[in-house]
Symmetry: C2
Subunit: 321 residues, 2 copies
């Protein structure tokens, strides 16, 4: 049984590959909620939705967010009314936000609402939020501290990043489903999906006790590098690393995880970085990691599972289990 | 200057005729909010919206509510999520509810929010809610007390009506714009649009002090009969009158207004009811009152204005003004 930690698009691709290979009781996908925000009176959970839509096979491949075949009547009418249109919400996508907001206001937990929405979309594998409490990613930039969506959508990641913080993370606790998954007897490995380390996985790891729970489990922790050939597959990861003075490479990413990783799956293009990873105490496995289609996703997921298994076997051999 | 009291479809037709004949400073349209309700976390104001869309020329002529050229992606997706779909909300219409709800939650008054929405839709004539407070029309039926939307949409007006009440009306006060309009020196007449007397105009008249303010102004109060030839043009008015044991006729409608009316514009088909109206102390004027198109609306509006003017002239002659 595998716990996968993920953010949006890149994470959802690997998670869908894992879901294609594993049974629903063999995988728990833990999703970043540090991007969540209230907008137009609605609770928006971008990464949970991207994950749900991707696993349901209804994600919008062109946009990288929202639903395929979406229509935009709501946004057009909202623009006419002078409403806030900087964050685009499709007509069908809007139903997710309205229904989630309604159920949360009625007192339901985000984990339960997410499970219900996923069931409606026919997603069999459990997608769970990292916590029930509000954690908000703050991007400290040359233009000051920006809420995540301000940085990401309004400012299109233009300001120079100096640091990150995750407001509320210390007071937050892992969701019960997350904690249960980390405590399961049959937990074989923890997979860090190729999501942005600072924006997507950082918030999950910042929730109180998460790093400790992972460290004390002693199962292999394996990341898939979101950096390929010195570039991010998608999003601002490479720009952020540059601005933080971190080498834009798999070992740069590994340094962020600060001793937590047992292994990293890196792309063929980055084979030269294996020694740097080993110097950090991180085992490496090399494969084609770009996921352009469903077959790629399954292949990369298979490579991660095989790598994690080999690390687990080695660990068991070393410890004499 | 004219104050028009109105509910949804029928009222909006006459109001749009009045708006075609009068300048924006010569007409204040006061709209029923007794049908308003909270749904999916949104504040829905059906009559305000029907009025706004009708005056903006964007109302859906087939449905009798909502916007023309509407799409339904939101409802389709909401159905998939198991959400409440008994009250249908179009994608574009939804923007009105989301934006209104957002502004109300931010502390704006319904009158101001309505004015802003109307300005966005290019409506020049003031549309004002009857009050800022919550008034809820309750339909007492053979199946028990039903909230208006339960009766009207869910039960499609099937239960037998025994009585009506307007919860909160006694605690409510006319909106400032409504009160100001009733107090204006240049007020010439008050027009009761051909909306349902019990469901649309009853709530307005039940707001505390409204009947008194109207009575003490001494300007002609003129209704347009919503009953033509023993039938309601639209909606359950005739069925309700039957169930309440009231004759389905202009004089049956006049009896509901209980001495408030100076005159009623009735359809050619109901000319035989003139004596009954006169016996109630209500002057009558006869015209073609069915409004199938914009020309009809202007014609009926013109007939109402002319009738009100003649009643005013007679009243001034009698009182020696």
């Amino acid at each position: 049984m595998i716990v996968a930690l993920a953010g949006g698009v890149g994470g959802a691709k690997l998670a869908s590959g894992l879901a294609a290979l594993l049974r629903p009781d063999e995988l728990v996908i833990v999703v970043n909620t540090g991007d969540d925000f209230d907008h137009l009176g609605l609770r928006i959970c971008p990464d949970l939705d991207t994950m749900m839509y991707t696993l349901a096979g209804v994600a919008n491949p062109e946009l990288g967010w929202g639903l395929a075949g979406e229509t935009w009547g709501f946004m057009e009418a909202l623009a006419r009314l002078g409403g806030d249109t900087w964050f685009r919400l499709g007509d069908r996508d809007l139903a997710t936000h309205v229904e989630r907001t309604r159920r949360l206001r009625a007192g339901a937990a985000l984990t339960d609402v997410t499970a219900e929405l996923c069931a409606s979309y026919g997603v069999a594998h459990p997608i769970v939020p990292m916590c029930e409490q509000s954690v908000r990613t703050i991007v400290h930039t040359s233009d000051g501290a920006l809420a995540f969506q301000d940085y990401f959508v309004r400012h299109r990641c233009a300001p120079t990043v100096r640091d990150f913080s995750y407001a509320g993370a210390e007071q937050a606790t892992p969701s019960a489903a997350f904690a249960r998954a980390l405590a399961r007897d049959d937990l074989h490995a923890i997979v860090l999906c190729p999501s942005n380390p600072w924006l997507s996985l950082g918030p999950i790891l910042s929730v109180s006790s998460v790093r400790e729970r992972i460290a004390t489990r002693g199962v292999p922790v394996v990341a898939v590098s979101p950096i390929i050939g010195g570039r991010a597959v998608k999003g601002p990861a490479a720009k952020i690393m540059d601005e933080l003075g971190i080498e834009v490479s798999p070992s740069g990413v590994a340094s962020f995880y600060d001793g937590m990783l047992d292994g990293m799956l890196i792309d063929d293009a980055d084979a030269a970085h294996v020694p740097a990873l080993l110097r950090l105490g991180v085992q490496a496995s090399v494969a084609q990691t770009l996921m352009a289609n469903a077959a790629d996703r399954e292949r990369v997921a298979g490579a991660v599972l095989a790598f994690a298994e080999s690390l687990g076997a080695r660990s068991r051999a070393t410890s004499g289990d």
